[in-house]
């Protein structure tokens, strides 16, 4: 049974993996990236994070929709949008 109205519990949108909407995938070039964090600031989904193992960044591809704002905003052109083909 579903509830009478579309009402969700906190955090339930995590079940909706919007990464499947993506056509272009952002990929960080660690050599060009200066670690400024502009990509993290501008990501409208809040899915860009600093990598644990280096000073560069990565997206959570379960939820990244591939909008490309991070690549557009990057002052070092360190993010390439790569067509994902399956």
């Amino acid at each position: 049974m579903i509830p009478h109205a579309p009402i969700g519990e906190p955090g339930s949108s995590l079940a909706n993996k919007t990464g499947s909407w993506r056509i272009y995938m952002p990929v960080w070039n660690a050599e060009l990236c200066n670690g400024c964090g502009t990509c993290e600031t501008f990501c409208p989904e809040g899915v860009v994070h600093k990598r644990a193992d280096s000073d560069t960044f990565i997206a959570d591809y379960d939820y990244c929709k591939g909008c490309g704002i991070c690549a557009h905003e990057c002052p070092k052109d360190a993010i390439e949008m790569i067509l994902e083909e399956k």
Partner: protein, 404 residues
């Protein structure tokens, strides 16, 4: 104007009667944007609030879209909510109407029925609310000021029933009912309190127990939520009947449930209408009955949910049904009530000719003589069959060329 509430039997304006009935229902939040001919309803209510005559929050907004949007939040937070609008204002609410119904919020809203632009016109027909018939709102239509009062209280009982949990439009004809002064039995607060319990929402928007209302739903679940609204509409049929009977027990007045009938038992000709036009038709039926014409009247009180079974049963013995529509579904050549009655009969055992009359648009008067001409046409259909399935009544031949 004073905000002190009147009581007992009074000669009041229809708009005051509505505002008084709303006040007796103890709304927590009212939000509306003034628009002719709804203005007096919300002026009276804002005066009541300003004078402290009722304990409600009145939210002033910049548009009808905002008025209904404010009530989405208020209703989700557990408030009993009210708005009123008409015509272009209702059209501006269109998007929010779907949200209120889909989120299952029991908002009650008076629609003071008025035509749609263009050409701009402030007078009565039913085009505004009829154009919102697929939004998931229950739609009730009142015949006179007393019925709009009684229907408003019943509307909250129906809307807030947990098995319904849907918004209700209570429709009254602009000017004809909103601006006319009639004797009205104003409702007593104690009696309304006994009839209408406080609103107990199924789910509440609460910062201490956060939930998301109106969630995104993907293709896997969307249709099921739409089905639930349809199911709730269907469940509202018995609640509308119960509310009418419970109201009768409490206040002594009964108007029928989803439909009302007048002299239909042996009627060969049945006139169908909604709203204040029904009052005119009662006089025509009385007059023609006194001359031996077997004519009867079917009044639709609930257009949503559509009373298909009740209508089929009521007209089963008739020889012709005349539907008087104060709206036009452009491109079909007829009003929506006519279309829906014909559609609901198509697979039934009832086979009665149905003819449609688009009538009274933009406040054009509907005199008794016009209704008598419609009855004459009905007699022709009994004798010779249907020649014209639907027509615009009383067009000006000097302005438009008619037919081909």
């Amino acid at each position: 104007m004073t905000g002190k509430l009147k009581s007992g039997r009074q000669v009041v304006e229809g708009s005051y009667a509505v505002a008084h009935a709303v006040a007796m229902c103890r709304p927590d939040v009212i939000s509306a944007y003034p628009i002719t001919p709804q203005t007096h309803v919300v002026e009276d209510l804002s005066q009541f609030v300003a004078d402290g005559a009722i304990d409600a929050k009145y939210i002033n907004v910049e548009s009808e879209f905002s008025a209904l949007s404010a009530l989405v939040g208020a209703s989700a937070a557990g408030a009993r909510t009210y708005s009123a609008t008409t015509s272009q204002g209702l059209a501006l609410m269109h998007e929010v109407l779907f949200n209120v119904a889909g989120m299952r919020l029991p908002v009650v809203m008076t629609i003071v029925n008025r035509s749609m632009s263009a050409p701009i016109n402030i007078w009565n027909d039913h085009q505004d609310s009829m154009s919102e018939r697929d939004t998931g709102w229950i739609q009730l239509y009142a015949e006179d000021a007393q019925e709009i009062v009684d229907m408003t209280v019943q509307a909250y009982l129906i809307a807030e029933d947990p098995e319904v949990s849907l918004p209700v439009m209570v429709c009254m004809d602009g000017f004809i009912l909103s601006h006319v002064f009639e004797p009205v039995d104003l409702l007593d607060q104690k009696a309304v309190d006994e009839f209408l319990p406080p609103f107990k929402p199924v789910s509440v928007l609460d910062p201490d127990n956060p939930k998301s209302f109106g969630m995104f739903v993907d293709p896997e679940y969307y249709m099921d939520f739409r089905y639930l609204v349809e199911q709730a509409m269907d469940q509202s049929r018995s609640k509308i009947r119960d509310a009418a009977r419970r109201f009768e027990s409490a206040f002594g007045r009964y108007y029928g449930d989803l439909i009302d009938t007048y002299h239909i038992d042996d009627a060969e000709i049945i006139l169908v209408a909604m709203g204040s036009l029904v009052g005119t038709l009662r006089d025509v039926v009385d007059d023609l009955r006194s001359k031996g014409v077997p004519v009867g009247l079917l009044k639709i009180r609930a257009f949503r949910p559509f009373p298909a079974d009740e209508i089929a049963e009521a007209i089963a013995g008739a020889k012709v049904v005349c539907v008087l529509d104060k709206n036009i579904s452009l491109g079909t050549g007829e009003g929506a009530v006519c279309t829906e009655i014909k559609a609901s009969l198509y697979n039934s055992d009832v086979s009665v000719p149905v003819i449609g009359f688009v009538i009274g648009l933009g406040g054009r008067d509907i005199p008794v003589s016009t209704v008598q001409r419609i009855v004459s046409k009905a007699k022709d259909v009994i004798k010779h069959g249907i020649k014209v399935e639907s027509e615009f009544v009383d067009l000006k031949h000097s302005l438009v060329s008619i037919g081909t």
